[in-house]
């Protein structure tokens, strides 16, 4: 029995990251009484991001100030179906958030749209390269939604985020000097702010890319290039390139976050209620199992609360939506042996590689200058922008020179062969620190039959619930993709005439290593799609099984993108909100007939 039964709400939203706050704004505007439950503490620019205390690498990164407390709750990880999973006890490869704003408070600000063909990935590859081109164990799928359907929501999200960038094509007209991304899909509006300035490293990279026949452009960034007031009246300040974005709360109101760009306006709504330190343990169902009645959560005092609601929205961090469904008994858990079931299916990630070019002293690339969303990028090897036919792999990735602020503890790049300590290391650090140009290939990661989420049979969280278990490892297709692009880009690095280059790339047979940071862009587990046999939610992000339950976030991605997920996560949240406002509220029930 719960200790407290709360007053009924029209909608309860689980999680206060981008998706939860977007949906809360939309639903309060529609007149609904909305309760948002956030498992972590309240956070805001002041005091959490107050200058200069937010610029503290030890507190924020090494001591995980904005990240989840892994001693209370985490996931377990194993590489294969026959392995025993163990808990991810120290944050390394990815950084699960907690607290008001979620990962939206500590993200970097790289704000992408999707490449249209990635939303129809399976049909696109089958059509262009034939069915046999896709490996048998690759479970990639179409999302069920098109770029044209999402386009207005990408545009609005950019206006809310105050995104800086150069558009390439607006309403089918090439704009500016054509110096945007030639591979970018058509847009209905330019970016609300001009592109950020480029760092010197990025300028060197731009030139080298151009000389190698590639198409560099200033990447869209949700770090404001100028002061900006968004459609909600929320105010941003201009980015100062302080270099403290990813992992930090921005002190200058420059990096878009739910806290800066939505909450100030949302707080004015009498329909909005936020409860922090409230951990949802279960989505409650009625006797039929087809309708959610609300959620159960544990508050800061450890009391069990029931929050009844007509509409339940889960906007938890990436994989946690799958955990919620599994512990709530909603949907059929995925079985990798049979391929049947859907909850937990298609756990995906990304495939990073990095190339560092070391120059003689005097280059002055000044890596202490930086901004998380600031990059010069090429998309020539992303998506299906290049012919995969002779290459024999699926996927790709953007390649960027993203000077985000090199910090001392995280490590200063040194040339290959440098000892890990001692005077030789010191000299290499001194020589390299301001004389390195580094760029990354953020490769995609396809979905595979053997990579999935399930409940761990052994380990439990602080509330006694089974931990979520990852079964995940690198697959040859993605390694092949990563090595191909990395090889191409190593040639670009060499054309800069550096003293030496260092390439950090995965090799065939490498296993997923949870220690070094890669990206936090996990996705899948409750994927969207065109039918309930192969997906958890329909094209409107509505559960096939429980029609008053909607799942938001990267958990609905059918497979991994090369791009960072936030832009698409936000566009999908607005798209889902529109469907709820314009269709569901008028006629509650399934929006797509199975």
């Amino acid at each position: 029995m719960p200790d407290i039964i709360r007053k009924h709400a029209d909608a309860v939203i689980i999680g206060s990251g981008w998706t939860g706050m977007i949906m809360a704004k939309e639903l309060t505007e529609a007149g609904l009484k909305v309760v948002v439950l956030e498992r972590g503490p309240a956070r805001d620019t002041y005091p959490d991001g107050a200058y200069p205390k937010t610029m503290d690498e030890l507190a924020f990164i090494q001591r995980s100030k904005l990240f989840q407390d892994m001693s209370k709750d985490t996931v377990t990880i194993r590489h294969g179906l026959n392995d025993v999973a163990v808990p991810y006890r120290q944050i390394g490869a990815f950084k699960p958030p907690t607290g008001l704003g979620g990962a939206g408070l500590h993200w970097s600000g790289q704000h992408w749209r999707v490449l249209p063909e990635e939303l129809q990935l399976r049909s696109h590859y089958e059509q262009r390269y034939g069915k046999k081109f896709i490996p048998a164990d690759m479970t990639i799928a179409d999302w069920g939604v098109t770029y044209d359907e999402l386009e207005p929501h990408y545009t609005f999200a950019e206006q809310v985020f105050g995104t800086s960038g150069h558009a390439y094509r607006v309403n089918n007209q090439i704009v500016g000097n054509g110096d945007g991304n030639v591979f970018e899909a058509n847009r209905s509006a330019p970016f609300p702010l001009p592109a950020m300035k480029n760092t010197y490293s990025a300028m060197i990279y731009w030139k080298a890319c151009q000389e190698n026949g590639l198409h560099p452009f200033s990447q869209p960034s949700a770090n404001a290039s100028l002061p900006y007031t968004n459609p909600y009246g929320c105010q941003m300040g201009p980015c100062t390139f302080c270099g403290f974005c990813s992992g930090y709360a921005c002190f200058n109101y420059s990096k878009a976050s739910p806290n800066v760009n939505i909450l100030p306006a949302l707080r004015l709504s009498p329909n909005f209620e936020l409860r922090t330190d409230s951990t949802v343990t279960k989505i409650n169902l009625d006797g039929t199992g087809k309708r959610a009645t609300g959620v159960t959560y544990i508050d800061a005092q450890g009391q069990t609360n029931t929050q009844p609601a007509d509409l339940v929205i889960a906007g938890t961090f990436a994989y946690n939506n799958a955990h919620l469904l599994l512990v709530s008994g909603i949907g059929t858990p995925y079985d990798p042996q049979t391929g049947q079931g859907v909850v937990g299916k298609n756990l995906v990630y990304q495939t990073m590689s990095t190339i560092q070019a070391f120059f003689e002293p005097g280059k002055f690339s000044n890596p202490f200058i930086g901004a998380g969303g600031n990059s010069v990028t090429v998309d020539d090897y992303n998506g299906d922008n290049f012919d995969h036919g002779p290459l024999g792999f699926v996927g790709g990735g953007p390649v960027w020179c993203n000077q985000a602020g090199t910090k001392p503890i995280g490590g200063i790049p040194v040339p290959a062969g440098t000892p890990g300590w001692g005077s030789a290391w010191k000299k290499a650090v001194a020589d390299s620190y301001v004389n390195t140009v580094s760029f990354d290939i953020e490769g995609s990661n396809m979905a595979y039959r053997q990579c999935y989420l399930s409940l761990d049979p052994t380990y439990k969280n602080w509330l006694g619930q089974p931990l979520l278990r990852f079964t995940f490892d690198w697959q040859d297709n993605d390694i092949k993709m990563s090595r191909y692009i990395t090889g191409k880009m190593t040639d670009v690095a060499k054309s800069m005439n550096p003293k030496s280059t260092k390439v950090l790339v995965k090799n065939f047979g490498d296993h997923f290593d949870t220690r070094p940071y890669q990206t936090t862009h996990l996705a899948g587990g409750t994927i969207m799609g065109t039918n309930p046999r192969q997906s958890v939610v329909n094209k409107y992000l509505q559960s096939w099984d429980v029609s008053n339950l909607f799942l938001l976030g990267a958990s609905v991605f059918a497979q991994g993108l090369g791009y960072n997920p936030t832009g698409t996560v936000a566009a999908l949240a607005y798209w889902s909100a529109k469907a709820i406002r314009e269709q569901y509220l008028k006629n509650p029930g399934a929006l797509v007939q199975a």
Binding site: Y46, Y232, Q235, G237, P264
Partner: protein, 430 residues
């Protein structure tokens, strides 16, 4: 917390108002009265932080002790539920309560004395029918005997309070400026803070007729120095347009400035609710007040050039670069709507640096308004900068980019540091 409580209270007003409207024969009078209450900023004193709307209890420091604002809800035992309109009007016009004593002049009855009958009737209707009655017994003043004797207040009133009479526009004043004068001088009681007071606590002037000290900047209030609202080019509103003033009062900021301290509360509780027409009239009136001095401001880029070329040799410049430059910029011009300019800012140019020192020590928070919901914060720097550093950086700011204000001494900082009170995390309340 305060900001949110007030917001909740205002929402409550409209909810209650809707209920009252069913019984009251003239709901528009109540709506009008709610507007008058906002224009008069009754909340500033009569709603305690986190307390019920107009239930009183806020402690107001005075030179002779703490006064607690009255409960002005229609509660019959602890509020003014038994007051007739005449009782109410007598208090508002003369400062004399229903029971016959004279209130302390923290209650700006000297300004309210000229509020129109029509507005006062509306205000009374709103308080009686639109505000929920709250039983809240307010503490008696913490004023020691013999200062606590009330009859000298009557004498004070005889000596200093104006004879109640209707507001009179000045000859030749156009309708808009006259409306602005009415709002500023009566309901807005702007002079309570922005006009200097005599040692006997009366304001130097209650209107601008032959009174160059009217709104020429007041004395310290809660650690803040109310600025000059006259036409002075450096310390006043000389370079503000009518739109700037109206925008400031509506949103809490302009491209160049932001409200802080007591004025942030005024914008939050009062002026943001005024119509654009009234705000424009207020601005027109303020712009009609002549300057008290001929000093002119002209931007000077000497420091900008120096800072941008890495020259921080001027005393305080290095501290500025390390602590202030990120938001306020090397040009001292800040960033429009986000971070205030320091170059040519009247707050920076004032003779008395109290507000500046307190902003650096305590930090400052812009008000949250419905038109500008982001309550941007300048963080406290008291933990980081010592008295000498704060004095140096403020002296730098006050003597750069064309600013020409007296230097700041470490002793001035030390005195204010004793009252250090960092800004609260109010935005965190859900």
């Amino acid at each position: 917390m305060r900001a949110f409580a007030t917001l909740a209270a205002l929402i409550a007003i409209f909810a209650i108002h809707a209920a009252a409207a069913q019984t009251d024969p003239n709901p528009s009078l109540i709506t009008q009265g709610a507007y008058i209450a906002a224009a008069g900023d009754c909340t500033a004193c009569h709603t305690a932080p986190g307390g019920a709307l107009y239930a009183g209890g806020l402690g107001i420091a005075s030179p002779i002790g703490t006064i607690y604002a009255a409960n002005i809800t229609p509660d019959k035992s602890t509020g003014i539920g038994n007051w007739s309109y005449d009782d109410f009007a007598r208090l508002m016009r003369t400062g004399v309560t229903k029971s016959g004593y004279t209130v302390y002049p923290a209650m700006p009855f000297t300004s309210y004395s000229r509020v129109s009958d029509q507005d006062l009737h509306a205000l009374y209707a709103y308080i009686m029918l639109g505000v929920p009655a709250v039983n809240n017994q307010v503490k008696r003043p913490d004023i020691p005997w013999p200062l606590s004797i009330r009859w000298p207040m009557t004498v004070w009133r005889w000596m200093f309070a104006p004879a109640p009479g209707p507001f009179q526009p000045e000859p030749g004043q156009d309708a808009q400026t006259a409306r602005g004068a009415y709002l500023v001088q009566t309901l807005g009681h702007c002079g309570s803070c922005h006009t200097p007071r005599e040692i006997t606590l009366q304001e130097d002037a209650l209107n601008d007729v032959n009174h160059p000290s009217f709104l020429a900047g007041g004395g310290h209030i809660d650690g803040w120095m109310p600025v000059d609202l006259r036409g002075d080019d450096t310390t006043g509103l000389g370079r503000w347009s009518v739109t700037d003033i109206a925008t400031f009062l509506k949103t809490g900021a302009t491209d160049k400035t932001a409200a802080f301290g007591g004025m942030a509360d005024v914008v939050h509780d009062s002026t943001q609710y005024l119509t654009n027409a009234d705000l424009t009239d207020i601005a027109l009136y303020l712009k009609s007040l002549p300057a008290s001095s001929n000093a002119k401001y002209a931007y000077d880029n000497t420091e900008t050039t120096a800072l941008n070329s890495g020259d921080s040799s001027k005393p305080g410049a290095a501290i500025y670069l390390a602590n202030c430059d990120v938001c306020h910029s090397a040009s001292g011009e800040g960033y429009a709507k986000a971070f205030p300019a320091l170059a040519g800012n009247p707050v920076v140019a004032g003779q008395d640096p109290t507000s500046l020192i307190n902003i650096v020590l305590d930090g400052a928070r812009r008000p949250q308004t419905t038109t500008a919901p982001s309550s941007l914060v300048m963080p406290t720097l008291a933990w980081k900068l010592n008295d000498q550093q704060i004095a140096d950086v403020l002296t730098f700011i006050r003597s750069s980019w064309g600013n020409n204000a007296p230097s700041v001494s470490p002793n001035q900082v030390a005195r204010l540091r004793k009252h250090y009170k960092p800004i609260p995390n109010t935005a965190l309340s859900p």
